[in-house]
């Protein structure tokens, strides 16, 4: 079989977003399969970290799915938006415009949104606002920390040498707390590591916002595959954390969770890339109803 064909595309009402479509070869193409849209991972352009999005798109196309990799406005090769929307609202507006273009030009009726990091958050926050979204693949999404997270986090640290060394040498945050006579939890005083988001996911408003987003998606019937990596230990550290963080969301069988140990945030090693692609392909092949599931 020939490799999947690829073509470039300009999307949105201003034709300002750059995308590449990887089309499933005809012999394996499923007419009613959802179209996969892969969003930017942070500020990396549409090929994804380590070219992961390209490899994923080609693997999915070979399995019968059409795939779009796209740069949202202001990222990669796409033009910035002319309006003054907030970054989140701009991303959500962009996704709607991307889906509108796919519907108008290719009669796409339902999609699976896929993203890593900010791409995961954009995917799930958008999902419940548009009935065209049938599924989301979330790679290291933002998840508030839970009581079990903290138990595991500090248990792990007890087993590591460095915190004890810091305590002995006066570099541990506890010493700072005592020096400043500050009785806030140590956690609240920790400065985020360079490049890490501020530690605000546990804020009640943020938690409620995310819970609402997941709840809307689930209520709409969206299927979810969430993959967490050990690299985001400051944020999540066990497989079922998403369930525990949002106990009011009736995820049921719509959510599948996976946790990759010995894996960094961007799936750098080929072993982790292949494991991820195998998982996504397996998840994509069933659960959509109709002829796709019977194939």
């Amino acid at each position: 079989m020939n490799p999947p064909a690829e073509q470039t595309l300009l999307l949105g009402p201003r034709q300002s977003m750059v995308g590449v479509i990887t089309s499933a070869p005809e012999p394996v193409r499923q007419a009613d399969a959802p179209f996969v849209v892969i969003l930017n991972a942070g500020i990396i352009h549409r090929i994804g970290p380590n070219r992961l999005h390209v490899l994923m798109a080609r693997a999915l196309a070979t399995a019968g799915f059409d795939v779009l990799r796209v740069d949202l406005s202001g990222l990669g090769d796409s033009e910035p938006r002319p309006d003054s929307l907030s970054p989140l609202d701009a991303a959500l507006a962009d996704i709607r415009e991307v889906l509108d273009t796919l519907q108008a030009t290719r009669q796409v009726q339902r999609v699976v949104l896929m993203g890593l990091c900010s791409g995961a958050d954009h995917s799930v926050i958008y999902a419940g606002t548009d009935p065209r979204v049938a599924g989301v693949v979330l790679l290291d999404p933002s998840i508030p920390r839970t009581p079990r997270y903290y138990v595991q986090h500090y248990a792990n640290r007890l087993l590591q040498m460095r915190p004890w060394l810091n305590l002995a040498t006066g570099r541990h945050p506890l010493w700072r707390m005592f020096r400043h006579r500050n009785c806030q939890p140590v956690e609240a005083q920790l400065e985020p590591a360079p490049g890490e988001p501020p530690l605000t996911l546990e804020h009640p408003e943020v938690r409620a916002f995310l819970q609402n987003a997941y709840g809307r998606a689930v209520a709409q019937g969206v299927r979810l595959l969430a993959v967490m990596t050990a690299d985001r230990e400051r944020q999540h550290n066990y497989r079922r954390q998403l369930f525990d963080a949002f106990p009011q969301v009736p995820f049921g069988a719509q959510l599948r969770l996976e946790y990759f140990r010995h894996c960094d945030h961007t799936f750098t090693t080929r072993t982790n890339q292949q494991r991820l692609m195998g998982l996504v392909l397996e998840w994509m092949k069933t659960g959509w109803g109709g002829s796709v599931d019977r194939a």
Binding site: P3, E6, G42, H45, E196, C263, D264
Partner: protein, 255 residues
Amino acid sequence: MTPLFFGERTRRLFGLYTPAHARAGRQRGIVLCPPWGPEYLRAHRSLHQLGRLLAEAGFHVLRFDYHGTGDSAGDQAGATLEGWVDDIGTALDELKDTAGLQRVGLLGLRLGGSLALRAATRRRRDIDALVLWDPVLSGADHLAELRRLEAQALDTHDMKADPDELLGFPLTPTQALELQALRLLEPAPAWPARTLVTVSQALADHAALREALGQVPGAALVEVPGQPAWIEDRHSGAGAVPVRQLQGVVQWLNT
């Protein structure tokens, strides 16, 4: 801005063509040759910005991905440096054809600079200016530096990588050997009359390069200190955009 695939059916290359904004005066064009692997990923933002600045300054710009990299067809495991030099030739022809130009400029960053110099040597009659931005002088040193970064990353995350990969990108033993043998000044290149080498940091190895350029009228090596575009900036996965470096390149090409 037009994204496109070009080249032979069996070797389709992705390109982003940006026509000159200012059409007054002499028509000029330039092909931007990226680095490879992790450096390609980090430097994308800078090359994107450079393309925009050059288009605003009146250049027709084609930025492209080598076969097996970026958005281009193929798997990097099947790529060769010689093949990538050929790809630069294909991109040259594409830009000449699209913009209707007889000669165009070449700009290469890091490994892209080393490859651009080889392409310029092969296609002297087609080149009117050459810019090498922090070119890789020694493939062996370049590979050693990337291997050092890889060891650091693997150790941090308690991961193991296969020998035929490097920081998430395939690198077969044959490719590693080809890269190790790469020397910017060997075999002796044919420098275009208008050549600029611009570097972010002075290195001891630059002495030989400076000496070689000293024999070429119209060639210059300038140092523009700044954050390297191809090194990750603050865990963002992308590099910084060194504005002074970009402005210096545009200014030199424009004079």
